[in-house]
């Protein structure tokens, strides 16, 4: 990830550097001050590509939200009809509530678990480096591949039901991913499992910045473990909390492949989310306009929650 981001950040920095020393740069160049490098227009190819690939494509996708295009052939501009259809359709509203449930559920549980693990593995434990790697593993592994492994675990003939039968709880066996009550919780377990490692690493990064001296001083002043966490550690890692929850919510709202692999939105729409609906409408059911409209709605929802979340967890200036 760093490798792909670095060039862009440099490219974006170029205008400022170029703008700062326009005159001096031109005068001194013949004398060979080699490192006076870069002009803002050098970034133009990159900017043009980003514009063409992201913003133009995104804009065209947004435009189709107002048409009845089926993905092929001619289309008509239908105004807000696609959006009206979305808010009248109980399936879409169910998908919306599932999306929010999964996003907030996975952020809450994933962050609590991540924070606990990060605190536990922060200092004392000898095996912490191995454990950190193990806990981070789910983030690195392909979500699609791990989802299929989970699907096997939750299968009716899978290990979970075999285990339940073995311990004498055979009456609790069920097709977990096809049970209308349990399917969404099963999906939540998988999402929490995969998001915990990411939260853990962010919290660990935050905890590394908490000076041990301050904690020691608090301990000498008689603060107990909870007070030290509440009044010293937690304020110090507030930026990490902000990042972990923001990224978690954005990720949780647009999660797609684990759900597609685990349940494909089933049973009968019980685990349908906005992202799986976008895919189904646009690509499986040939309702490209409806899919694009749903994607816009999803974007708006992510935007709203990201802004709210940013405001809530913003550090106080005096911190």
């Amino acid at each position: 990830m760093t490798a792909t981001m670095q060039p862009e950040s440099e490219a974006a920095e170029a205008p400022r550097r170029g703008g700062r020393t326009p005159v001096a740069g031109q005068k001194t160049r013949p004398r060979g001050r080699g490192l006076e490098f870069g002009h803002w227009w050098w970034a133009l190819p990159g900017i043009a590509l980003v514009f063409a690939i992201h913003y133009v494509a995104t804009g065209i996708g947004g435009f189709f939200a107002f048409t009845n295009w089926t993905g092929i052939g001619a289309f008509k501009i239908t105004g807000w009809a696609n959006f009206e259809a979305i808010f009248k359709d109980p399936t879409k509203l169910g998908a919306l509530s599932n999306t929010l449930f999964l996003a907030f559920g996975s952020v809450l549980l994933g962050n609590i678990a991540g924070l606990l693990i990060a605190l536990g593995l922060n200092r004392v434990l000898k095996t912490r480096y191995i454990l950190r790697t193990l806990f981070f593993m789910p983030v690195v592994l392909s979500p699609l591949a791990t989802a299929y492994i989970w699907k096997y675990i939750f299968d009716f003939d899978g290990p979970l039901n075999a285990f339940l039968t073995a311990i004498g709880a055979g009456d609790q066996t069920k097709p977990w991913l096809a049970d209308p009550q349990w399917a969404i919780w099963t999906v939540l377990v998988v999402l929490v499992w995969s998001s915990t490692g990411f939260a853990m690493v962010i919290f660990m990064a935050g905890l590394a910045g908490v000076p041990a001296e301050v904690e020691e001083a608090a301990a000498i002043d008689g603060a107990n473990l909870w007070q030290r966490f509440r009044n010293v550690t937690l304020p110090a890692i507030r930026p990490a909390v902000a990042i972990a929850t923001t990224l978690g919510i954005v990720q949780g709202l647009r999660v797609f492949d684990p759900i597609m692999a685990l349940t494909a939105g089933g049973p009968a729409g019980a685990t349908e989310t906005l992202a799986t609906q976008v895919y189904k409408q646009a690509f499986a059911l040939g309702n490209f306009g409806g899919g694009a409209a749903l994607a816009l709605v999803l974007a708006a929802i992510i935007l709203i929650f990201a802004v709210i979340q940013q405001r809530l967890t913003r550090s106080n200036p005096e911190d």
Binding site: E8, A57, G71, A178, M204, I243, P267, A268, L303, V307
Partner: protein, 485 residues
Amino acid sequence: MGRITSSDAWLSQTPVKLMSGIGKTYVLFLHISCILVSDRGHGSRIFSTMKSERLDMTQHRRSTGLKVIGVLAVPTIAALALTGCSSSAGSTSSSGGSKEFSLSFATSNTIESPFKVLAENYMKSHSDVKITFNPQPNDSYDQTLRTQLQAGNASDVVVTSPGSGTGRSILPLAEAGFLEPLDNAAKELLPEGSASTFGSDGKVYGQATEITVAALVANETAAQAAGGFPADFSSLQQQCKDLEPSGKSLFALAGAAPPNTGLMAMSLAASRVYAEDPKWNDKRAATETTFAASDGWKSALEAVNTLKDAGCFQKGAAGGGFDAITKGLASGTSLSGFIPAPSWKQLESAGGGSKFAVRPLPAESSSKSYVFASANYAFSINAASKNKDAAKAFLDWAAEPEQTKAFAEIDGALPVTGLDKYDFEGSAYKNVGDLIKDGKYGPLPNIQWPNSAVYDALATGVQGIITGQKSPDQVLQAMDAAWGQ
């Protein structure tokens, strides 16, 4: 799909300077790499303090405006990328003589595609012809085909489906001008009553390749051991109850794979709706009737509950995938499954020594027996093809009686011509032979439905009936709503 969801790709797509959140992530990732890779303990306090300062900087010094733009840009791009066009990966063999062309078809398993075998036979008998194969995985075939047709780089000959129910369906593709009208050879192969699904205004855009029966595929060996296959619907329920204690089931159902639940519901509707009224779809299209108002459809979906209550499905059927059918039928723990008839051949060749055959779903009375048999796949020619002559020569050759017969044999299906002289007795189709000879068959209903949402509503609805989430009436209403979309 991967492009949308992989967080790496998602992050790399965004202009960094705008993204306050991403900026923070970047700093954090430097940190993460330290934590995961190096064993630095608490030695380099300076390092970590420096990092946390940078963290704070990104937190404080960015203006709110930039933050909002950043927050706004990420989700917009991420969500709208979902609707972006996927890249095309096809090729046209525009160069070379007229003896060269390309062929696109869908592949769904490791067994060699019958389309490929047919084309290879063509190359063998026509040594001057060169065919380029463009196989696509079945689950992405529709989308790839549409993208390639729009980009102008689809194969010269493409495999399509009649009707308008799927992404590869002939009618919408022809209407958008992507398919070349075909000549008499294709018209002669039109199965009876299917003309409206192969084109409009007297033009035909697809050449039928085979007749696919959609009914039950039964493990005959296992059925013999269980005392034979039931003859009508009430003895079927009894047999379900008899089989259940032994851990076996009459049907293997992929409850979590909607196409399978949909096929089961249509099979139940065969004797209840289409045996009495083969033109029911036309009436629905003319809004003379609706699904919800049809007693036949209602009884078909209520029969799903009857089958469930009688224990006709394997345990955990609601969560089963297609592997549950393959496993159940091959091992004989399930006697039959609602799968396309040509699968009998693949199941038999998968080993296990069991015999497989095609059977109609037992009806309430034998006089009501009815099966679906229609041409579900067709050859079409890309309207933008530069090798139309070579493509047409291939289609003419494929329309010859020997070739249609050979193709059906390769795939385990029925030939598109010469059905009246077909030897049903000696084939896997002997149980449906009389129905087909008596004309008690019709096209798969969803081929004639106006869009794929109707079938989707049926298929996911039946899953809901099995799990108890939906009633037959709700499902039928959803199908009516989807019809009008």
